[in-house]
Symmetry: C3
Subunit: 208 residues, 3 copies
């Protein structure tokens, strides 16, 4: 398709962008999938496929880093950012695996709230990553990061209520162990979104 | 108050110092608050207020980093140090929240020991941060860091005993789940103190 | 013993190598020790001794970093690598401590698989660290890192099966709590091996 005049280094942002979009796709899919109270085999596999897609994008970024001399931001920051996005998707996929393994009905009010927060958080991260290369939009990138922090704080308080409710109403210790882990994994996904946001902030700080 | 002749970059240490002092304040307050076996609503709120104070200091440091060209140590190290202190305070506040949520009596011998170690560790961190800018006191800073490591090792062994005792004496699985989490969060706070100490060591190493 | 002509900076790799070999020694010892279904006091102490040996090597590396001006790779990367190897050994030692504390029979099929994966992973890390200084063997180093990632993925799926089986067959919540923690700590050790592998990859990336 002719010579590519786009400077090579911009490709890194393209790939980070694809990774963030893939994460958002997985979060939105998961949110819809758990709504009906059943996470069927096909849905679990779909989550696993999206996770592999994320892994592949991550490996492509690493390979590109190994072949490229000049990078738009520090090589290790690109690497850590890519890994951070990957960690969130890993936790989403782990949640799908646990729901299926524990054979539990995921139609739970608190869980739905947490999954919705993860979806919003993934959307904010995708927005932040998308605008990172645009040096005139740094304020907007920062706003997305602040939004991720806000969502993580909300998630903390939802998890708090969820676990309080769990101990008050659930008499079976096995069910408590299972749901506690699922709530905590959801909050862990939000935590990891916040780590990525903080990393993006620190990259802006470094180039500020 | 006249012109400020203190070079701008020293302000970073002032703010890190305020953050470390705020953490120490929270640790000491918590230690006293749990002693009587009740963590009342006002005490939980006070912990939450101190946590917000820590957050605000952290944000001020990030803003300062965004406005300042020259920093005394690497920008990302200031940022990571500030975040590390914040993580310890988050865990202290999480412990307060859990004790309140689980409606448990915090007057437990092992828990008191762990909370005391956190208080000592916060004091050592405050000492380390305070002396960081004084290039003649690097040995002292290192000694504080070693002290934090020592306290973390002690904490490991207290938590070990606590959990052993818990499984031997507590017959209610719900209570085991709750206390196990609280002991582990306390040990997690000590772990995070150690991370901060290791970060300070690594900053000294880099400038060594 | 005469003048040492080996350039000073190569010593860092010698020490990292010793640390990786010490980790492998501990992993292999642990694998053998748990096989007979009893982890006796002497074996627990041996694990603790190997962990202390690792700590000592880590401190020697930090001291060397404090005394050395020129390092073969970034000072903080040497430091983080040494810490990462230490974290894996800490978790191995923690597992030994828990098995002893919980008085459980470690002769469990899933646990044996996880411990075997840790042993293989430690061997791959030792291989990667050993070849790091040889600039002509970077491809081999990368292959070892990919192997560590592969083993971690296997570990994820073993832990998944282990926990599924646990909830299906074990009726005592206390035993579930104990074994769940042990399986998760084993998987945590594999995760930490992967962190070290990713760190090594990122060092290659930086110097690529």
């Amino acid at each position: 398709m002719g010579i590519n005049f786009v400077p090579k280094e911009e490709k890194f942002f393209d790939y980070l962008n694809m990774q963030a979009e893939n994460l958002l796709k997985a979060a939105s899919f998961f949110k819809t999938a758990v709504k009906d109270g059943v996470l069927d085999e096909g849905e679990v596999r779909k989550m696993s496929d999206l996770e592999h897609e994320g892994d592949t994008l991550g490996h492509e970024i690493t390979d590109m880093l190994n072949r490229t001399f000049i990078t738009p931001i520090d090589r290790e920051d690109i690497y850590t950012l890519s890994n951070g996005l990957d960690n969130v998707l890993d936790l989403l996929n782990a949640m799908a695996g646990r729901i299926s393994l524990y054979k539990i009905n995921p139609a739970d009010e608190y869980f739905a709230q947490l999954v919705d927060l993860i979806d919003q958080s993934a959307a904010a991260l995708a927005g932040a990553v998308k605008h990172m290369p645009d040096t005139k939009r740094q304020r907007r990138v920062l706003d997305y990061c602040i939004e991720v922090n806000r969502l993580e704080n909300l998630g903390d308080s939802v998890r708090e209520k969820a676990i309080g409710h769990l101990f008050e109403t659930e008499k079976d210790p096995m069910a408590v162990i299972k749901w506690k882990e699922i709530y905590e994994t959801a909050e862990g996904a939000l935590d990891n979104c916040e780590h990525v946001a903080k990393l993006i902030e620190s990259i802006l700080v470094k180039h500020g």
